[in-house]
């Protein structure tokens, strides 16, 4: 029992020691091993090696996927460092305590072998690690802040509406004041002795009443009101069965603006069916997990975001995430994504709108038959490199107009309704 305990406590102690090392990184100035050159040539050569092979997992002064590197020649021997870089797994397998500890601390992530690096390459690399780019961390964080600030440029639309509202209120106040002035002046003038023409001018209100009661006026106003009401009613009748603008709340607050916009993940990465099937498909949780096994919160915050936790729950319990379908094409019509995207080369945004800017997805197009037909009338067919169309192109060559979708049956009822 006691042996067992002592055995397990060895790596634990080592890892706590290591943790302390990393905590002290910020304040401690390392005395690099004197064997490491600090010449500028060596640093420059080391930098290109670092950028090509190390950059994505390591930073000089910050913990990343792997440990922060500066000061490594002070913590370890140069020989050990070289061995680890060339073949870390061999070193770990040999039972080297330091190597095993660092392997465990970083979740047993295997570092690729770098046996192609010569001794000189490695010494240059260490020169860069110890003496290169001291401001590395500061630059990185400043860059991040800059990009955030850039997003907030321009006057927000709320301010514009507030300014407009204030203007309207000011105008109304002026109107009221003018009205008051007029009534005061009229009252004053009525007490004064005036000639006949002026009297008539002051008392002209009664003439307005006559205009309001005249038949012509009543007929014109009634006609206008009826026309307006009928037009609104007709417009509204046309929106029945059209779900444009439908933006249901989803079980997970997934933002296309973040994923497709900011991080530029292509649509097909998740919607894998779009080129091979009728439906573009909603990704299953395992596709989310390709990234989200590492990314547990938004904006680099600590802890697990409650929205991302829902993915983990779905995976753990093998329970489907019940997304709400946004685009409900009626059952009476057939639509095939592969036909439009893979064959026709239509961009996703042509029908779905600016998805990469949508925080919550809404139905952008009307998806009415008129909308479909319009596009089929105007769109030319991509015939190059597709021998399916060779005969059709040949048959159509007599016509002056380009070969459109309508020419090959894009307006036939039975293409979509059967």
């Amino acid at each position: 029992m006691s042996i067992k305990r002592s055995l397990t406590s060895v790596p634990l102690k080592l890892s706590t020691l290591l943790m302390l090392f990393f905590l002290m990184l910020g304040t401690q100035v390392f005395a690099a091993n004197p064997e490491v050159s600090d010449s500028e040539e060596a640093i420059a050569a080391g930098k290109s090696i670092f950028n090509a092979n190390c950059k994505t997992c390591h930073k000089l002064d910050q913990k990343s996927v792997g440990p922060a590197l500066r000061g490594v020649t002070d913590r370890r021997s140069i020989d050990w460092t070289k061995k680890f870089i060339r073949n870390s797994q061999a070193l770990i397998a040999s039972g080297d305590a330091q190597a095993v500890a660092i392997y465990n601390e970083f979740n047993q992530l295997v570092m690729p072998n770098h046996e192609f690096l010569s001794d000189d390459d490695l010494m240059n690399l260490l020169a860069y690690v110890e003496y290169g780019d001291k401001a590395d961390a500061a630059v990185a964080s400043a860059g991040g802040e800059g990009s955030v600030a850039a997003g907030g440029a321009g006057i927000p639309s709320e301010y514009l509406t507030i300014i407009l509202a204030v203007l309207v209120i000011v105008l109304l106040l002026i109107l009221i004041v003018l009205g008051l002035i007029i009534s005061i002046l009229t009252k004053y003038l009525k007490t004064q002795p005036l000639d006949e023409a002026d009297q008539e001018f002051i008392n002209q209100k009664s003439d307005f009443k006559k205009v309001f009661r005249s038949d012509a006026f009543v007929i014109i106003i009634t006609a206008l009101v009826v026309a307006l009401v009928v037009k609104t009613a007709l417009d509204e009748l046309y929106t029945i069965g059209v779900q444009q603008g439908y933006a249901p709340k989803q079980p997970i607050a997934f933002s296309h603006q973040l994923h497709a916009g900011q991080y530029e993940i292509p649509c097909q990465y998740c919607h894998t069916g779009v080129e091979i099937g009728k439906s573009a498909n909603i990704p299953s949780a395992n596709i989310c997990m390709n990234c989200h096994m590492h990314i547990q919160n938004v904006g680099g915050k600590d802890g697990i975001s409650p929205e991302i936790a829902k993915i983990y729950a779905a995976v753990d319990e093998n329970k489907p995430i019940e997304w709400v379908r946004v685009h409900n094409l009626p059952d009476l019509s057939y639509f095939n994504h592969a036909q439009h995207v893979a064959v026709g080369g239509v961009e996703c945004q042509t029908c779905h709108g600016p998805i990469e800017e949508m925080e919550v997805v809404y139905q952008h197009s009307t998806l009415t038959m008129g909308w479909c037909i319009d596009c089929h009338r105007q769109t030319s067919i991509r015939t190059e490199g597709n021998e399916y169309y060779d005969k059709l192109v040949q048959l159509h060559s007599g016509s002056k107009n380009a070969l459109k979708v309508k020419d090959i049956g894009g307006l036939e009822c039975a293409k979509c309704h059967y």
């Binding site: 090509a52 996927v65 069965g241 991080y263 993940i265 409900n328 009626p330 009476l332």
Partner: protein, 208 residues
Amino acid sequence: MKITHSIYVIAIAGFSIGLASCGASGDHPGYEYAPQMYNSVAYEPLTQIQNEQEGSWLSNREDGKGEFFNSNINNPHGMNMREPVEGTVPRTKDGSLPYRLKAFELEEAAKIQNPIELTDQVLAEGKVLYYQYCSACHGANGEGDGKAGEIVGGVANLKGGAYIDLPEGHIFHVIMKGKGRMGAHGSQISQERIWKIVHYVKQEIQKQ
């Protein structure tokens, strides 16, 4: 006379205001003229109505459920799709069989040859597929500098010395099963398409 006139006007105005709530917005999908023609009676893979009462006002179903209820009560969570029976072999265009190697059998995998013949068209397709499935992390030129990759961290620079000489079978296996911080992409991309990506990576990105 005037009273009836104004009643008409008010009635039409009220009707049009009532109609204004028919359009879709937010959580409300709006109404349809003939809902029977909009909702699928058959099971649909991506549309599912779980409320048993939905459409009961026009239902003539024998089981007494609503006309639009179309979830499969025999499946877990009432889903309309089921996982295929274990051991099912999918039919593919090129007749390829399921990939049997396990994630750790990387050395075995490295010996596999690319079954797709290298042509200009395959390279062009590979380029598109690389953009769709790889560029978000590995970057447009494979240097490990994709925007999503910066957040994931630890993305391989495909031009780096540790990766540039890897055999095609190794690349195929890593895409299929994942390695290190990279997840398995076998469920997203068919084998044929992965081999096309491998051609593109070897011929263009890792061109030496």
